[in-house]
């Protein structure tokens, strides 16, 4: 019997189990479904709590951000750690500093966006696009608690702006602006900022990530605004890590871990 038969059987069984499970799902968009309004016998519904109370407690109009960065900020911190861990695993596999691949760097160097007249259109477009992308990325990070956006999205855009430089010119252009030393440092620094917003409240005698107590340091009007500002702080941390790891993964993959030449 070929392994495919086993695979097919496993798929069919899984499908049957999943179909059996959805047989008594609440209808789509039902406001009285357990996820929306809680269940008899359990704690009061968290969804209703978030909708009714979270603005008053955190002064963040975007409920998604307040759940993501404050109520469940511990999860988000580890999601950022997942990004870091993925990056570290990739570097551990790919990164090599042996000198064998020097030759790749030679001819590729010509096509730099700095003063290369053969690629003036690409270079110029890139020069114009990158600052716009980066400013928009900063807006997405900074405005994450008012509108859709936040650290992950903004960080991806920032990382993409460096990847654009590497694609338009070559990897050395991008690495000249964002070196291995700085992206490794920023990747760690991002989570240090995030976890720092958690540890400082501990020093002040509250629990990990209890942003409210930071009003003593941030000099805000009350704990609500301290939470709001802290969410901005942790979003910045997330953005730094995501940006660095995004670019670093690209740099390592495109140059087979040598960080020279590249595409």
């Amino acid at each position: 019997m070929s392994p495919k038969i086993f695979a097919s059987i496993a798929v069919v069984i899984t499908g049957i189990v999943l179909l059996y499970g959805i047989s008594d799902f609440p209808t789509f968009g039902d406001p009285r479904s357990p996820a929306n309004s809680g269940v008899e016998g359990g704690a009061p519904s968290t969804s209703l709590y978030y909708i009714n109370e979270s603005y008053g407690v955190t002064k963040v109009p975007n409920l998604v951000t307040s759940v993501l960065a404050d109520y469940r900020g511990y999860d988000t911190m580890f999601e950022t750690v997942v990004v870091l861990a993925a990056g570290m695993a990739i570097f551990a596999i790919l990164r090599s500093t042996t000198k064998d691949d020097e030759t790749v760097a030679g001819p590729a160097r010509k096509s730099s966006i700095d003063g290369d007249h053969n690629r003036i259109i690409v270079g110029m477009t890139c020069r114009l696009a990158v600052p716009v992308v980066q400013i928009f990325a900063l807006y997405v990070v900074a405005h994450g608690h008012y509108s859709p956006g936040g650290g992950f999205q903004g960080g991806v855009m920032l990382g993409a702006s460096f990847i654009l430089i590497a694609l338009a010119g070559n990897l050395d252009d991008a690495l000249g602006r964002f070196s291995e030393k700085s992206y490794m440092a920023l990747a760690s620094l991002g989570i240090i900022i995030y976890a720092g917003f958690g540890v400082v409240p501990q020093v002040l005698g509250k629990n990990f990530l209890d942003f409210g107590v930071l009003q003593k340091i941030l000099l805000t009007d009350g704990p609500e605004m301290a939470r709001s500002h802290s969410m901005l702080g942790v979003e910045i941390g997330v953005a730094l890590t995501v940006m660095s790891i995004m670019f670093a993964i690209f740099a390592n993959l495109s140059s087979r871990g040598t960080l020279k030449g590249g595409l």
Partner: protein
């Protein structure tokens, strides 16, 4: 500060990893001291946090101070069961990190900093899985530990370990996805992610508890965890991942990853769905115990067929997973099976650590990986041999090692729960272990020392043995003459051996603590000894 200890257990290795990220790339000599200090802080906090649970009962730590209403934030929950496991994880991590010190003759490689970052982040993930009281947070930390362990397997220089890591990645991702899908189903029916809250709903609200979606959620979660712990038909990734990975990695991965997954299964049965719900479904218990019997027998038989030490140990892990899953599902009236399974998590972590350290020492310092090459070991490496003998006797189940007591409780559970097939499988597996290890004893005691030259004639061609490389250890592949391993390799081995005996001697106290978690009437607990 004492009430902050549960958070500190994770934060110490997290900040250690970040600190290595900041400075470790420039100064590789800083990596080990940072990692060691971080893990020692974790160990101290774990002991402190667990002591509070031992004396004062289970308690919650609300992240961000979000207490009311229950479930809006994330809660860490320490009770006696996971308190013990937290200490065990910290102990194993400290001993495994000591083993990664390299001899002064070997140079650091490019990968040293990455190795320690992944090592510490894996510890963060394992601590987090163990301590959390939130079903979704558990998934996030499973991801942290999974990604780091793929990296730790792939960090070796050979091609084989990369393939093993890729296989592991595919299986691990499937497992984690099943778990996540299960949590999604659970959330749809209960509207909560907090374990305590879900448990209350399932025990009080019968319509929710009996709905097909909840049953599906349980099956999905269970299968997901089974893939993660390499339960028998789903074990395919384990032997390659653990035997091809560098010794420094496998000494952390092998004792902890599968054991923490078993803990997750017990936690899901005990605190998420509740034992009454789980065993309220007729036939499930029998089915899983039979699966476990097959796992035990298959693992033992496959272990018999192996010539490499590490691979043999890997198949023994498959059998041990069968012990624990079967024990947890015995459904005997006094829960001796579940008690034995929980105790065996600790015992097996120590035994696996001890034996993998032994295999690591042999490979790292002597280039030996096959059982046939062990001739004359007892004479040449007496101290290493002592550690190995203790680990082997524990695997066989000789008193006063912990392996004897876990089998004792598991067999008691099997008899009281009416599962003679499980008892028989346990005894057969012990017998197989005895055969396996006495065969090694014989070779090590009477065999000739093969270091003189024929050590490479064992079917491995040269290319293959090149592959079997360590990033941390820059091993030369030729078997070197056997002599005693350096002190920093012997310390963790002997400490692990001592712990095997200590966990065995203090089994009464440990069992009592474990049974605190099960809320069994006091009369049963007092009948313990």
């Amino acid at each position: 500060m004492l009430e902050q200890l549960p958070a500190l257990i994770l934060l110490a290795p997290l900040f250690g990893a970040l600190l290595i990220g900041l400075i470790g790339l420039h100064d590789r000599r800083a990596c080990f001291p940072i990692a060691f200090t971080a893990l020692i802080i974790s160990l101290a906090s774990a002991i402190g946090a667990a002591m509070r649970a031992f004396t004062g009962g289970a308690y919650n730590y609300f992240i961000g101070g979000w207490e009311e209403p229950l479930g809006i934030g994330i809660v860490l929950r320490v009770d006696a069961l996971n308190g013990l496991l937290l200490i065990a994880i910290a102990v194993v991590a400290v001993l495994a990190v000591i083993f990664t010190i390299r001899p002064s003759s070997e140079k650091d490689t490019d990968k040293t900093a990455y190795f320690y970052i992944l090592f510490l982040l894996l510890c963060v993930g394992l601590f987090g899985i163990t301590i959390t009281g939130d079903a979704f947070n558990l998934f996030v930390l499973i991801e942290v530990s999974a990604l780091t362990s793929y990296g730790l397997v792939a960090i070796g220089t050979s091609r084989r370990c990369k393939m093993a890591a890729f296989h592991y990645l595919l299986m691990g991702t499937v497992g984690a996805s099943f778990y996540l899908l299960g949590v999604g189903y659970l959330y749809l029916k209960t509207g909560s992610l907090n374990m305590q809250d879900i448990n209350t709903i399932l025990t009080t609200n019968a319509t929710v508890a009996q709905s097909p979606a909840i049953v599906t959620a349980f099956i999905l979660i269970l299968v997901g965890i089974w893939i993660k712990m390499a339960f028998f038909p789903l074990y395919g990734w384990l032997p390659n991942a653990y035997s091809y990975s560098p010794s420094g990695s496998s000494c952390l991965l092998a004792p902890l990853m599968t054991k923490v997954s078993v803990y997750v299964m017990i936690r899901v049965m005990l605190s998420l769905f509740g034992l009454e719900w789980v065993f309220g479904h007729p036939g499930w218990s029998d089915l899983v115990v039979w699966l476990a019997v097959i796992a035990i027998l298959a693992g033992s038989i496959m272990a018999l067929a192996q010539r490499e030490i590490k691979r043999m140990l890997c198949y023994l892990i498959v059998a041990e997973i069968g012990y624990m899953v079967g024990g947890a599902w015995l459904n005997d009236p006094n829960l001796w099976g579940l008690t034995g399974a929980s105790y065996h998590i600790l015992a097996d972590a120590m035994m696996t650590l001890c034996l993998f350290l032994f295999a690591g020492i042999l490979f790292k310092y002597h280039g030996v990986s096959e059982i046939g090459d062990l001739g004359g070991m007892f004479k040449k490496m007496p101290i290493t041999s002592i550690g190995f003998i203790v680990g082997a006797l524990a695997m066989i189940g000789v008193p006063p090692t912990c392996g004897f007591f876990s089998k004792f409780y598991l067999i008691r559970g099997g008899i009281e729960g009416g599962h003679p097939e499980y008892v028989a499988a346990l005894l057969i597996s012990s017998l197989v272990n005895a055969v396996l290890f006495f065969r090694i004893f014989e070779i090590a005691y009477f065999g000739k020392n093969p270091a003189a030259g024929h050590s490479h004639d064992h079917g491995h061609d040269d290319h293959d043995s090149h592959d079997h490389d360590d990033p941390g250890d820059a091993v030369t592949t030729a078997a070197r003459p056997m002599r005693e391993a350096p002190v920093y390799a012997l310390i963790p081995l002997l400490a692990a051996a001592a712990l095997i005996i200590l966990v065995g001697i203090f089994n009464g106290q440990i069992i009592e603590l474990i049974r605190l978690t099960f809320e069994i009437p006091a009369t049963v607990v007092s009948n313990l000894r």
